[in-house]
């Protein structure tokens, strides 16, 4: 499901890469230069993840049949019944 978006990575890919970077810095014997490069990349990925998390927009739609039987998206509102919710 990895789809390339405008930021290049999906949330999942970004967080996976971030996990790899943390592992590499913690457990691999990287040169100081590599460490700094990876640190920078990791911080960018973390910010990207935060951004992706917050750019989501609440949308709950339902598909309805239009006049020519084509499917049209419309807002969906849950019928509120008299229960705990």
């Amino acid at each position: 499901m990895a789809r390339v978006k405008k930021d290049g990575l999906t949330f999942e890919e970004a967080i996976k890469r971030l996990e790899e970077i943390v592992y590499e810095i913690e457990d691999k014997d990287l040169s100081l230069e590599d460490t700094i490069v990876k640190f920078k990349e990791g911080m960018e990925l973390a910010n990207l993840c935060n951004k992706k998390l917050d750019e989501a927009e609440r949308k709950i739609n339902v598909l309805l049949k239009g006049e020519k039987q084509e499917l049209v998206e419309d807002n969906f509102t849950v019928e509120v019944e008299n229960d705990a919710f």
């Binding site: 999942e12 973390a46 949308k59 709950i60 739609n61 598909l63």
Partner: protein, 405 residues
């Protein structure tokens, strides 16, 4: 005739004996419609099974009817398994039921088992075909009824976990004629779009007929063919449908499906934050470690630096110089002292000193005369005093021991 007469009890017992010894009657399945159903307070069930032309009394004891999966009621068409025996007190034979199933379902169960076996052999349920769910789906496609608890539960649970959730509902018929077809259409529709990351198909629990759409082969194949991972949320906990087996993940309830599909916002946020902290700390530690290493190395290199060696030599050189100076001085002092001693000694031995005390030195031909043997009568000698000399002629020479007088 009287002699041959049986009591009523004897007759009923005799008939009972014959019936109970009939193997066919000891385990039979009877098809009919329930009427006069009574669930006695004792827990036992009493009813009549009938068809258009005939009826038979039935009883199902508590020990058996507690296992029933269906609720018996008048007018229900059933298949009853049991044995026939006689209730002597009333002189009636009855069907003693051990198990009852709804009639018409037998075919469904059979079809279910057959399809399950077939698809399993084809590998549709194989673990290796199961797709992984996305961590953060951009949009969730839901195929279920637009009315009822399922979509409501999904939206509620999803919103609680991640308020900014994006759900697209494709309303489908979840039971009855054409239900399977609409479910297939929904799956295919979602696959044609490019913004759906995961699909939930679901309905609330129900009887096997109500859930039947989810046991249809076309639905199973549509799920298998889907490029998008599918979570099935059919039934409640215990009923497994074919769709459940083919789906990438089976959720026990629609709420559970939403929990599986929608990540918790706060958990994700926590995860990112802790990864960030880990990253920061590990780089920090790394730099600290390097710093210590560098400090160690630099103190080592300082110890071995040329400057340090030169300094060591400087010091040695200074030591040597001091030693040289000291030992030279010492020698000089010693020599001086010796000289002084010699001079003192010499001074003590000086003839001038003797002369100054009143002695005189006798010299002949520039030689000091120490004995009378060295001179003769009429020799000219010089006698030196402190303040001058006398030229003298020897008149007489005689031997005298001065020191003995």
């Amino acid at each position: 005739m009287n002699n041959n007469a049986l009591t009523v009890t004897e007759l009923n017992l005799y008939i009972k004996d014959i019936i109970e010894n009939n193997i066919q009657l000891s385990n039979i399945i009877v098809k009919g419609e329930i009427s006069n159903f009574k669930h006695h307070s004792s827990g036992h069930m009493y009813f009549t099974l009938k068809d258009n032309d005939s009826k038979i009394k039935c009883v199902m004891f508590k020990g058996y009817n507690s296992y029933l999966k269906i609720k018996l009621e008048d007018g229900m068409k059933v298949l009853a398994r049991g044995y026939v025996s006689v209730y002597e007190r009333d002189g009636v034979y009855q069907l003693y039921c051990t198990d009852i199933k709804k009639d018409g379902l037998g075919d469904l169960y059979l079809a279910y088992e057959e399809l399950k076996k077939k698809l399993e052999q084809e590998g549709l349920f194989d673990e290796k075909h199961k797709k992984k769910l996305p961590l953060l789906p951009r949009r969730i496609g839901v195929a279920t009824s637009s009315t009822g608890a399922v979509i409501r539960d999904i939206i509620n649970v999803a919103s609680r976990r991640f308020y900014n959730v994006n759900i697209l509902l494709y309303p489908v018929k979840v039971q009855g004629e054409g239900a399977a077809e609409t479910i297939v259409e929904a799956i295919e529709y979602f696959n044609d779009r490019d913004d759906i990351d995961v699909i939930i198909i679901g309905r609330g629990g129900g009887s096997i007929e109500e859930l039947w759409a989810f046991n249809e082969e076309i639905v199973a194949r549509a799920i298998y063919k889907s490029k998008i991972p599918i979570v099935s949320a059919v039934g409640h906990e215990t009923d497994f449908t074919i769709a459940d087996f083919v789906a990438d993940i089976r959720a026990s309830t629609p709420s559970h499906a939403a929990e599986i599909v929608v990540p918790s916002y706060s958990e994700l946020l926590y995860k990112i934050t802790s990864l960030k902290t880990n990253l920061y700390n590990s780089v920090n530690n790394r730099i600290k470690r390097d710093k210590i290493l560098i400090e160690n190395l630099s103190s080592k290199i300082k110890l071995n630096s040329p400057q340090n060696k030169i300094n060591v030599h400087y010091q040695y050189l200074d030591n040597l110089r001091d030693k040289l100076i000291n030992s030279t001085n010492n020698t000089l002092i010693k020599k001086k002292h010796n000289l002084m001693l010699t001079v003192q000694k010499l001074d003590g031995l000086s003839p001038l000193k003797s002369i100054s005390r009143g002695f005189a030195a006798v010299v002949k031909n520039e030689k000091l005369i120490k004995s009378i043997e060295q001179v003769e009568k009429n020799d000219i000698i010089e006698v030196y005093f402190e303040d001058g000399k006398l030229d003298c002629i020897i008149k007489e020479k005689s031997e005298v021991k001065i020191w003995q007088e």
